[in-house]
């Protein structure tokens, strides 16, 4: 096939048009790919659409890419004009071939800001690009920019009816978050330890998901199977470490707030704005009912299972270190927390007793000076309170258990790497606990 400039121009025009038509014909395209095809078949389009998959025959790329790239650069340099539709088509073609071409994404940013381009289209385009280029940094960066646009739009009430997403704001955000979780998960599956995908996932939880306890727990549960089937994916396990750390941050902060609220309320009952504090306390109580130690224990169990089933994966041992560290730190925070809680208990009791009949009150008071709040039904008997009253849990976790685990692995494993990792873990443990 001759490559005269005119022929190339004709070819490119045709390809760009074919791509646009493919998207119009099939809005459900979910994957793009390159078809290894060294020679053009006479007069056949290099664009192939099969079962929701869009393919580009490889022979045309060497003509197509430089031409379209050049065209966009000329536009940017104001040496050649392109109208809005042309810009959309050209950037789309470019980004499907090379999604790290920042200029193309920037042109689309301008189109979005001027209201010509629906930001949701860019989410779709990005998702497609990621099927072939799952790490593409510029795609993830642009995606975050688009999401930020969508959140801002969400917060302006006048745009609710004109908004791109339909449905109520909270529902919209929730759907966006779920979709992002899916996109990240797929991209993570397409490239091992896909740091860009997993850090995007974290960003979404922070900025769209607001790191609520619900979203953190949902993510913990929904990624469990994935990491079990990707035992050397360090980024996947790092994500779970992030979830656990965020849960700890969340629960400890909220329980401090809860405790402070109670102290304030007891001291100034007249100032208590019933509805407001009841709501806030309910929310805090819900978050208080997160059984952090149980989640950490379960994580450690998961780690043990995987280490035993799949010997020789360093990622699992690194994860173990992190979980153990979190357990250790959490258990060190507990004494502080229970001291605060028990002072709340006793002040609570004295207030209650001032309403009792004189006959019973001396006895009641004598009991209450010593006792905790077993007799009081006013205090919610939450998981957290129950656990605080038990002896510290040394049976199911702790250094002794870890040393036993290491010994068991070393005496039964036949994988040289596994032995090496177990030994390294023991060294780490000794150093860590020695501090």
């Amino acid at each position: 096939m001759a490559e005269s400039p005119e022929e190339v121009a004709v070819l490119v025009q045709r390809v760009v048009k074919d791509i646009r038509n493919a998207f119009q014909r099939n809005p459900h395209i979910d994957e793009i790919g390159l078809i290894p095809c060294p020679e053009a078949r006479y007069n056949r389009s290099p664009i192939v659409l099969v079962e929701n998959k869009l393919g580009v025959e490889s022979w045309c790329v060497k003509f197509l890419l430089p031409y379209v790239h050049n065209k966009l650069v000329l536009y940017r340099q104001r040496r050649q004009w392109l109208n809005k539709d042309e810009l959309i088509d050209i950037t789309c073609t470019l980004l499907l071939l090379n999604p790290d071409f920042t200029t193309a994404w920037n042109v689309r940013k301008e189109l979005i800001l001027s209201g010509t381009l629906n930001p949701l289209k860019d989410l779709h385009l990005g998702k497609l690009a990621l099927t072939k280029f799952p790490k593409s940094p510029e795609t993830w960066i642009h995606r975050r920019w688009v999401l930020q646009q969508l959140i801002q739009e969400n917060s302006l009430p006048s745009l609710v009816t004109k908004g791109n997403l339909g449905a109520a704001p909270v529902e919209r955000i929730h759907r966006l978050v779920q979709e992002e979780m899916n996109v990240c998960s797929e991209a993570a599956g397409r490239y091992p330890s896909n740091y860009n995908a997993w850090s995007h996932r974290i960003w979404v939880l922070q900025h769209l998901g607001k790191l609520t306890v619900k979203v953190l727990l949902d993510e913990l549960s929904s990624t469990k199977y994935w990491v079990s089937m990707h035992v050397s994916d360090h980024s996947g396990f790092h994500y779970r470490q992030f979830l656990l750390k965020s849960l700890i941050g969340r629960t400890v902060t909220d329980s401090n707030v809860l405790v402070q609220n109670q102290i304030i309320n007891e001291q100034n009952p007249s100032l208590q704005k019933e509805e407001e504090s009841a709501g806030a306390e309910a929310a805090c109580a819900e978050e208080q009912s997160v059984d952090l130690p149980r989640h950490l224990e379960e994580e450690l169990e998961l780690c043990t299972e995987l280490i035993d089933s799949y010997p020789g994966h360093e990622t699992l041992w690194c994860h173990r270190r992190c979980v153990f560290y979190l357990q250790h730190h959490l258990s060190n925070k507990i004494p502080l927390l229970s001291a605060v809680v028990s002072s709340v208990d006793s002040s609570d009791e004295t207030l209650n007793n001032s309403h009792h009949s004189p006959a019973t009150s001396p006895m009641a008071q004598a009991m209450d000076v010593d006792g905790l709040n077993e007799s009081s039904s006013k205090q919610g008997y939450t998981q957290e309170t129950k656990r605080l009253k038990r002896a510290p849990m040394q049976d199911s976790f702790g250094p002794e258990v870890e040393y036993q685990f290491i010994d068991k692995v070393l005496s039964t494993c036949r994988d040289a790497d596994q032995a090496r990792f177990a030994t390294a873990y023991r060294k780490w443990l000794v150093t860590f606990l020695g501090q």
Binding site: E31, G33, I35, V50, R190, M229, H230, V231
Partner: protein, 201 residues
């Protein structure tokens, strides 16, 4: 953690015959799947060709592992998996499959057999079931009788070849690979990336 193919072959003298195979290329890019499948057939045959009777080996190539068991009677099995999938489970699977195959398919039919003529339909089911090793083989933690020190480990495909032999030449000459697959092999610097994304930079 993934299995990509499970094949039963016969190590004839001089040629190796594919008797039956099952493939799972669903994690690869759509347009690469047929080429990937052809490559797995090509690779499985090549490995059996270059392995001794009565041997077990694991051949590493980029991020995937080809586990092969060639029995003394010439019946051979190859599992192509990624590098997370536990090796022991692969060899348990191969033992099981070859045992069952040899009982269901008459030995007379092995030297001249092909996927079209051989009737053994269990491979697809095994491939699917074993995608999750803990479901398929709950005893993965238990010490198998198999002595792992007897499994030869090759760090590359190239180490199976004779001195001076090049994989590129074998690819060009292969009857198993179609023109598109050969083109694919040439244009991509990595033969194929196991999970279908673009090759690492």
């Amino acid at each position: 953690m993934r299995l990509y193919s499970l094949s039963v072959l016969y190590k004839g003298d001089p040629k190796v015959h594919l008797l039956k195979a099952a493939y799972d290329v669903s994690t690869f890019n759509f347009f690469q799947r047929s080429s990937v499948q052809e490559f797995m057939t090509f690779t499985s045959q090549l490995i059996v060709e270059r392995s001794e009777l009565g041997s077990r080996a694991s051949v590493k190539e980029q991020e995937y592992l080809c586990h092969v068991y060639v029995r003394n009677d010439g019946l051979a099995g190859v599992v192509i998996a990624d590098n997370e999938y536990p090796q022991r489970v692969c060899f348990t699977l191969l033992d099981k499959v070859l045992d069952e195959f040899s009982r269901q398919v008459n030995k007379i039919d092995w030297p001249s057999g092909s996927p079209a003529t051989i009737s053994y339909a269990a491979l697809d089911g095994y491939l699917s079931k074993y995608q999750n090793p803990r479901d398929a083989d709950p005893m993965t933690r238990v010490q198998a009788e198999l002595d792992e020190t007897k499994i030869i480990l090759h760090n590359t495909m190239e180490s199976l070849l004779e001195r001076g032999e090049k994989l590129d030449d074998l690819v060009s000459k292969s009857e198993v690979l179609g023109a598109q697959s050969k083109a694919f092999y040439k244009t991509v610097s990595v033969a194929f990336h196991p999970r279908g994304g673009s090759p690492p930079p």
